[in-house]
């Protein structure tokens, strides 16, 4: 499939759904992709099964503070020097690029990178959703190293970083991004085609596209957009309600908070709470307890339009429907849950897959 200026909006909408409330606004990435495609032509979205075993795939991403990303957008050619540095170091030319997260800003940025570099984009990612830190990818569990990581800014500065762990890679990249003015472009988790197939989450970019398309066309076909999303993602509608309270605070650089909903329609008489730390992490129903938790995906959609609502836009009075979608089985391993399970985010609950939680409980 080709990514063009005609379908880029669908990718951005779908990426916001998979962004589970966070992940950064895909809007900037979408505009970058739009301009890059206008200048360099459409991007080939290639099936990960067609990537040769030994081909070099270099995922790309933007890293930094949201305030900076919306004020000082990239030059657009940062990835050229970032990729060149990695290619020289690894002694191999890049075959394709890839997104490390299918949700939020960094799902659309690699489309712009692919267009600018004339590379295809692999239909896969490292999260199947959005998470706040670089090491929170299934690739970490597969033993793929975040380094050598190249970090580049718009001025032409670039660094090649080698670290002993993916957590260190995250830490050094953050410090460097501040020196670079608060945002930078990175090439990271360089991996082979075989490793993509084994460790990445496959077909997630085309899923983002299909979700966006379903929401857009549902409006025209007077179909319920939420149903259309659930069908594509094997998801569940967790709750329909009105937001009655949103509590927010900033903790360790995260936008942390809790939203409370009062049920409407079929959910009348029940309440619902949603805990978020950048992304939505735990959903609780007043009658049924925890109904979904990270790493499963929890996304808030506008009750009427089906458009995704990010955590920063949650506000009193908004009528919404909350959906839950199963995450990749890779996250459901002990190792995966150590990286991104409820415990990592300081919730004292045991993870249970959303499918289990949705089974009727027998007393």
């Amino acid at each position: 499939m080709k990514i063009t200026t005609d379908n880029i909006d669908d990718f951005a909408t779908g990426a916001t759904v998979l962004g589970t409330g966070g992940g950064g606004d895909p809007y900037i990435g979408k505009l970058m992709a739009q301009q890059a495609i206008e200048e360099h032509g459409p991007v080939d979205l290639i099936d990960p099964r067609d990537v040769p075993d030994d081909a070099l795939v270099i995922p790309s991403a933007m890293l930094g503070a949201p305030t900076v990303m919306v004020e000082k957008m990239p030059k657009g050619t940062e990835a050229l020097s970032a990729f060149e540095a990695l290619e020289t170091h690894l002694g191999q030319e890049a075959y394709a690029t890839m997104s490390i997260e299918a949700g939020g800003l960094n799902s659309t940025v690699p489309i712009a990178v692919a267009a600018a570099l004339g590379l295809p984009l692999v239909d896969a990612d490292g999260m199947g959703r959005a998470f706040p830190e670089v090491q929170m990818v299934t690739l970490t569990m597969g033993g793929v190293s975040a380094t050598p990581m190249s970090i580049a800014d718009e001025k032409g500065n670039s660094l090649l970083v080698n670290t002993v762990s993916n957590e260190y890679a995250e830490a050094f990249a953050r410090v460097t991004s501040i020196e670079m003015g608060g945002a930078c472009m990175i090439g990271t988790y360089a991996l082979s085609g075989a490793e993509v197939r084994e460790h990445a989450i496959l077909d997630s970019m085309s899923l983002a596209h299909d979700i966006g398309e379903a929401i857009r066309t549902a409006k025209h076909r007077s179909r319920d957009p939420v149903d259309a999303v659930l069908e594509l993602t094997d998801g569940y509608e967790l709750f329909a309600g009105k937001i009655t309270d949103v509590e927010r605070r900033t903790e360790g650089g995260f936008a942390v908070g809790e939203a409370t909903l009062d049920g409407i329609d079929d959910c009348e008489g029940r309440t619902f709470t949603l805990d978020f730390q950048n992304e939505n992490l735990v959903a609780r129903d007043s009658e049924r307890g925890v109904v979904a938790s990270t790493p499963d995906l929890i996304t808030v959609l506008d009750a009427e339009t089906g458009d995704p609502v990010t955590t920063e836009r949650l506000a009193y009075g908004h009528r919404v429907r909350v959906i839950g979608m199963p995450c990749s089985p890779k996250w459901r391993t002990d190792e995966g849950l150590d990286l991104v399970g409820p415990g990592y985010f300081d919730y004292s609950i045991d993870y249970e897959p959303i499918e289990t939680l949705q089974q009727p409980k027998h007393d």
Partner: protein, 514 residues
């Protein structure tokens, strides 16, 4: 004390006017149809209220005008300037060129002249890149044919030196007559949205000055020698000179005027305002007497902007809304609009409107006929309206706590007195001209919205700096120096960044300068 004032508010359907004296007593009011050229409708309304109040032309001290010239120019792409859009920030930001996401016809209408030049700053005030003055001059010469310039520099809300310098270079190259809009005076952090607002502002200066001049001429012809002010979208006023420089601030001034007027008429300083017009109902919020600002990007003419705009939800229900009885009773969003007096049943027309239902129910007496409508339909339509209004009132609230609700506008009768979630419901006297009252009683304000690094100055200094600048802006807009007060200070720390960056917003407001 005389100090007679006329407040005029131009809406999509009606142009409303009031005459008030220096003690804010309302002496006369009118609703007249809005005309296509806007100005003649304004003059009609002015003539009516002058007649009714017995106030003579030479007794008028102030005329305050809330107008839709700027909004209409954008939606109709009419009379817009050709703008030279200069962004200072290369090598950064080149991945998204100016106007990229604008509708093609709007970008065309302002000439699609864009450039990204060297310069700009980092979030902490460090230099991003040197300004290349020769490059800037060459670009200005290349934009020889433009009517106006819009200049936006990366992180200008932190440091505006490059914008200021580019404006000087433009003056030097093209002289004093070409309007220049600089982004730090218009929007906040968020380059694209601020640049969009600045470009729209630059595009509107001719429309604004033509409208102002036409109006000043017309007043002169009538022998009115009053000070003229324009309504801004924060519910305050600005002088003619200021309005010509910052026409973008008149966009959405109508709903803001209503909020101010409703707050004044009902003496509710904090609550929800429901303004029921001919085609739509605007639901807004009043906080300490001023309209609450929207916290998210607002689209104008399909372009995302981030300058301050009132937080308003519009729903398609008004006095002219068409009532449908096919499979359940619904009201709007289709409306007969300004043709109410031709098409509505109570005026002998064929279309059943929301107004007809109330005439049939005997709650109002207008038009030539009393339509025969089933009582059940009236009841169902009222419930429909109630449910929609209650839902939006609820969305405007910030918590479940009941708050006062004020209902104003010509179609107020459509909204019941017992709104769910309201602690009390007001329908104050003169509710139908609340918008004109709002502009007539408005103060003059100035604002500042900047990022300060608290590594360079302490918090008190930063806030004082912002207060001084807001006060200066209020004076420049025409406020009386002795009466200017700081009415709002807001402080937002910026997350994820070192250097103690904080965003400070200050608003100052004062009485009209005599």
């Amino acid at each position: 004390m005389t100090d007679y004032r006329i407040g005029i508010d131009v809406g999509g359907t009606n142009t409303d006017a009031v005459v008030m004296d220096g003690d804010d007593n309302l002496l006369a009011k009118t609703k007249t149809p809005t005309t296509e050229d806007i100005t003649s409708g304004i003059l009609n309304a002015l003539d009516v209220v002058l007649d009714d109040s017995g106030v003579s032309e030479d007794e008028l001290d102030y005329v305050m005008l809330g107008t839709t010239h700027a909004t209409n120019a954008i939606t109709e792409r009419r009379g817009l300037n050709e703008v030279g859009v200069i962004r200072i920030g290369a090598p950064a930001t080149q991945s998204i060129r100016p106007l990229l996401e604008w509708p093609d016809d709007l970008a065309e209408a302002i000439g699609n002249n864009v450039a990204i030049l060297d310069g700009g700053h980092e979030f902490d005030g460090r230099l991003l890149n040197d300004l290349d003055e020769e490059q800037v001059r060459a670009q200005i010469r290349e934009f020889a044919d433009v009517d106006a310039f819009a200049v936006t520099s990366v992180f200008s809300p932190v440091r505006d030196d490059h914008e200021t310098r580019v404006a000087e270079l433009i003056r030097d190259e093209v002289g004093d007559d070409v309007p220049i809009s600089v982004s730090n005076e218009i929007g906040s952090v968020g380059l694209l949205e601020r640049e969009n607002a600045t470009a729209l502002n630059a595009a509107l200066t001719s429309v604004a000055s033509e409208a102002a001049n036409a109006f000043v001429d017309a007043m002169n012809e009538r022998g009115i020698d009053a000070n003229l002010y324009f309504g801004q979208n924060d519910g305050t006023l600005m002088s003619v000179d200021y309005a010509i420089r910052y026409p973008i601030f008149t966009v959405a001034s109508g709903p803001s005027n209503s909020v101010r007027g409703a707050a004044y008429l009902s003496a509710v300083e904090n609550g929800i305002i429901v303004d029921v017009g001919g085609t739509t109902t605007d639901v807004g919020a009043v906080t300490e007497g001023f309209p609450r600002e929207s916290s998210v990007a607002v689209e104008i003419g399909e372009v995302k902007t981030n300058f301050r705009m009132p937080d308003i939800i519009a729903i398609g229900i008004g006095g002219g809304s068409i009532v449908s009885t096919d499979g359940g009773v619904t009201v709007g969003p289709q409306s007969v609009g300004y043709k109410l007096t031709e098409e509505a049943k109570c005026f002998g027309g064929d279309t059943l409107t929301a107004t007809d239902l109330e005439v049939a129910a005997g709650t109002i007496d207008i038009g030539s006929e009393t339509p025969d409508v089933d009582a059940e339909i009236v009841e169902a339509a009222r419930e429909y309206v109630r449910e929609r209004v209650e839902r939006e009132v609820d969305r405007m609230k910030t918590s479940a706590e009941p708050v006062p609700v004020v209902i104003v506008g010509g179609g107020s009768i459509l909204v019941p007195d017992d709104i769910a979630g309201a602690s009390e419901v007001h329908k104050p006297d003169h509710y139908e001209v609340a918008n004109a009252v709002g502009v007539a009683i408005a103060q003059v304000s100035g604002e500042v919205d900047r990022i300060y690094s608290l590594d360079e100055m302490d918090r008190e200094e930063a806030i004082q700096h912002a207060k001084d600048e807001a006060t200066d802006n209020a004076l420049a807009a025409g406020a009386d120096a002795d009466s200017v007060d700081i009415v709002d200070v807001e402080e937002v720390p910026l997350s994820y960044l070192p250097g103690n960056a904080v965003r400070i917003k200050v608003k100052a407001a004062g009485a009209l300068d005599h």
